[in-house]
Symmetry: C2
Subunit: 238 residues, 2 copies
DNA sequence: GATATTTATCGTCATTATGACGTTTATTAA
DNA sequence: TTAATAAACGTCATAATGACGATAAATATC
């Protein structure tokens, strides 16, 4: 006769403390200064006062993904972000406060005047340059590193960069973004050629004059065209 | 004054059943017949007797990754497999036996005469063609689908395919593997050109005559060269 | 109001990669 | 000897790439 699953579980776990489940969020932002990461001053012991990613425990009655969304909404106030699961971090000793397995999520935010000075809901928050991330608690620096790699992977095949730009953007802005994501320089003329060739940009009749006398032509991303192309397995590669 | 973390947790979780943590394994194998998936007859209720991935609960005192390795070793008897975390599946209702969050791992096995007739450790196991996977319990079919996508991603940039081939293999074999992974046909002449151009194959002075009168030249993968190239950011793309 | 300055934009060219094929080779079975 | 068959090799037009040089538009300066 088969044991029912829960009795297998309960016998197996009878003498153990349960494993606690948490989510942590790697939040990337981008503006004219570059690519940034949102970090927080930890508010509880152990390690109170240290820099950290933001996270929370997962409730029994909520989807793991929803727990991540909740954290993101509470801390940024934004509803519609690009969010993707990164990895589950499950080493025994990763959290010195107990056995906590953390499922990390990463997300992308367009920085603008409204959201760049975040200091939300009693959290002390700060945007830091992606190349100047301080030491974070626990394995949070590993999480950031892995998230950066994932961002690079994604940007390679999907027009994910546009999640980080305002609706209207210039080619130099887009170039800066890709250079920040890949931590390298691209030839601007070749970049231009490739990005235009994708057919995913719509040239507007406006210019942005904030960075040069001449001004740079504004473009917007053609979501319709993207949806059409991606159905046929289109790849957006630089 | 700060609350210490565990007291935050314990108060938060006082009235809740703990979330249970499990691992499930998507095990791919490859031989002359094609790409296959290892599935198991579930041995306990609920859903006993149904086809399923193999998995187990994670103990409080073991790393999540080690739990996956343990499952893989117990079911396949093999120690050194390619193993990678796939995704954490965390919907509330994903397991009708209780609140179980499952972290899925996928792995690759070279099939040969020793391991293709697995029936290990009281598990009823079966290799099925990747295109003929039956309905599995819970969200296991989703896991397989996602793992297949991940395998395709990986094979695009890393010579991961070699994990699925014997040490000595022929170009037609390698072609078959890539066609199975991407579920498509490649032009054999162009495939040959590209794969040779990578410089990662060492031509041997032997032939495999099992599939043709003429016989096909055997190659082996040049791990040294791969390590050298990958340090400079080499990408293995088809 | 001519000129210098600065960022943005457009153009060129040799080299390499790609896709789509046709042809030959080595071996064994008939 | 030849037919059959999978494996291996070769060709060519076209497209993509990397590395540059040159121009253009607007403002600031003399």
């Amino acid at each position: 006769m088969f044991k029912i699953k829960n009795s297998v579980i309960s016998s197996k776990y009878k003498n153990q403390e349960p494993i606690l489940l948490a989510v942590d969020c790697i939040i990337f932002g981008f503006d004219h200064e570059g690519l940034k990461l949102l970090i927080f001053k930890r508010e509880f012991e152990p390690l109170a006062g240290k820099w950290s990613l933001i996270g929370d425990f997962v409730n029994n009655d909520e989807n793991v993904e929803d727990a991540a969304y909740k954290v993101l909404k509470e801390t940024t106030g934004l509803e519609s972000l690009y969010v993707e699961q990164l990895h589950a971090f499950g080493k025994i000793e990763r959290d010195n406060g107990g056995r906590v397995v953390s499922i990390a999520y990463w997300s992308l935010i367009k920085l603008n005047d409204e959201n760049k000075n975040l200091n939300v809901a009693n959290h002390e928050a700060r945007w830091v340059d992606i190349n100047k991330v301080p030491t974070l608690i626990l394995d949070h620096n590993d999480m950031v590193k892995m998230a950066m790699g994932r961002l690079q992977d994604r940007a390679r095949f999907r027009p994910i960069g546009f999640e980080l730009l305002p609706d209207k953007f210039t080619l130099p802005q887009l170039l800066n973004l890709y250079e920040a994501i890949y931590q390298t320089k691209f030839d601007d003329r070749n970049f231009r050629r490739k990005i235009i060739k994708t057919g995913l940009l719509i040239k507007l009749d406006e210019k942005d004059k904030s960075t040069s006398k001449r001004g740079a032509i504004l473009y917007k991303f053609d979501y319709q065209q993207y949806n059409k192309l991606s159905k046929d397995g289109y790849l957006f590669e630089l």
